[in-house]
Symmetry: C2
Subunit: 331 residues, 2 copies
């Protein structure tokens, strides 16, 4: 039996500021972007896309950081590990995460690349097309890990996006070892098809080794990881290998399978889908908020659906409404 944990969830992820603007679909195509996708961009491409972007707004983002913002808003005790630069956008990111009540102590990178940003073009139907300049975030050093903090958290949550760059990947491998060594759970979000294309073998090996307790994926990622194109086929192949598998399906809701038990939830109603950025991140937040207090699987899913619905009803991937109130009204 493991000792009671000081934290509910410690997450390792990109430390990114989102730059968002509405954009017509025709213009997205014209600029050479794949609608709905996430593309890594270098400085030059980031500058030319920014120049082509309309008047924008900025909000802290980053997949795992968004998840923590939701979890903390729901009352979970959280900590974040990720790297900003010592610049104004880094100060914005650090302020927002700490102001949400999340522990964040990784020093800002000095003299290197600037803080990561994600240029998000939002289509009229709310679909988001992301262009990420990773900057300082991709150089998160292994030395930034607070392994004692990780050992003192019920769940270690890892953002798949950050498996791609080498330094954070090695930091995450060490974090998994620290969590498992302390008898804690490891949750992993697959993030995007491109990550699976490059690192699917790593993920399949981690799953086979029993190193992942809770896996978050969407339907496309499930297919990419399993190589099985039918949704049910993919689920049937992957679920037996994981203590908990959670698969989101956008407007079709989500499915979770834990120890052979299956639960489903419909998507929560939304008056108008404004911006889908962060839908998966906030689904994970809601789900984990239930999971860390051992709520039934169906309730975890419902919490996920409520949080995802909140985030897609407005611009930005950090919650605006009082999630606690939303959740207590609904559950």
């Amino acid at each position: 039996m493991t000792a009671p944990a000081k934290y509910d969830v410690i997450a390792i992820g990109n430390a990114i500021v989102d730059v968002m603007a509405p954009c017509a679909d025709a213009r997205i195509a014209e600029l050479g972007m794949a609608r709905g996708g996430m593309t890594l961009v270098d400085t030059g491409r980031a500058e030319s896309l920014y120049a082509a972007m309309g008047p924008a707004r900025e909000m802290s983002g980053g997949s795992a950081a968004n998840t923590l913002a939701g979890l903390a808003a729901l009352g979970a005790r959280c900590g974040f590990i990720g790297q900003v630069a010592d610049d104004q956008l880094g100060a914005v990111f650090a302020h927002d995460i700490r102001a949400g009540g999340i522990a964040f102590d990784v020093p800002a990178l000095t003299g290197g690349e600037p803080t990561a940003r994600c240029l998000i073009f939002v289509s009229p139907d709310g679909q988001r097309t992301m262009n990420t300049f990773l900057g300082a975030s991709q150089f998160l050093p292994e030395a930034a890990l607070d392994t004692a903090m990780i050992a003192d958290a019920s769940v270690l949550y890892l953002e798949g996006y950050l498996w791609d760059p080498e330094q954070p990947r090695s930091a995450m491998r060490r974090a998994i070892a620290a969590a498992r060594g302390a008898g804690r759970k490891v949750a992993f979000s697959l993030s995007d098809g491109f990550v699976i294309a490059r690192h699917g073998d790593d993920f399949r090996a981690l799953i086979a080794a029993g190193a992942i307790d809770i896996l978050f994926a969407n339907a496309d990622e499930l297919a990419a990881l399993t190589g099985i194109t039918t949704f049910e086929g993919g689920l049937a192949a992957l679920a037996p290998q994981l203590p908990v598998l959670v698969v989101t399906r956008g407007a079709e809701g989500a499915v979770a399978i834990a120890a052979g038990t299956r639960a489903e939830v419909a998507a929560a109603p939304v008056a108008k889908v404004v911006d889908t950025t962060g839908a998966g991140d906030l689904f994970a937040a809601g789900f984990l908020s239930g999971h860390v207090r051992a709520a039934p699987l169906a309730e975890c899913l419902k919490l996920g659906a409520i949080c995802a619905a909140e985030i897609i009803s407005h611009y930005g991937a950090r919650p605006e409404a009082d999630l606690k109130a939303l959740v207590s009204a609904a559950v």
Copy 2:
């Protein structure tokens, strides 16, 4: 008769990025802020207030710059004169103003103070409490003026806030001379009671000298400028001294008097007042968009009310909805 102008409106104002977060009224009092007010803050106070602020979002702001953003969205040809620093927030401000189709060529300040920011605490009823760190903005040098551009604009629009620091004040005096020398109109926004308290004599002298063609004020500013506490008394005293006087009254609508003709407008309906930041700025935008095409006074007011209603229905002082469509549906 003056030559046709290349620009409809050139504005001189603060180049500011707004940092906004919701805040309970009790907390606003606790932090020593005057609810609904605008206070200039130094670096130390800005830092301590930012540390006390919840998770925030950033959007370009600045009173006159907001007005231009509205005007440009309505199809007016605009240019902005103001100073950012050579930093990330300065790049954000410059991007947003240019992306709105507004000419902006003032070089960023290097090696001095950072770009201005305004910490805006938004109360549950939408009232905003502003704390402005002026940074680079207050050092706008006279040399930054493009007097040829000013001479080529139908209207020169001046932000009262910027009358307070010495360098921009002297730049604005020179801009008034350039505009008048070219036979153009000068519009002035009184901005805030503190500006009138410090510089009311300047404003009264400019008005008496006939240097101001269009004056924008709210009811409090009208009282402060005239020293007359009744609304009608203030109007009666001030209107004869100005070709056009526009006074906004929040939820009670607005009044304009031009050459003895008086028109009024009710506030346009808003489903929910989310954030009143920019209400006056966007009222001025709507009004001027009509004025520059010689629309009747009542129509100018109506345009102002529509734009103000749009801006208070969401966070941030830059328009989100398609103002042109809103206006053509209503007028």
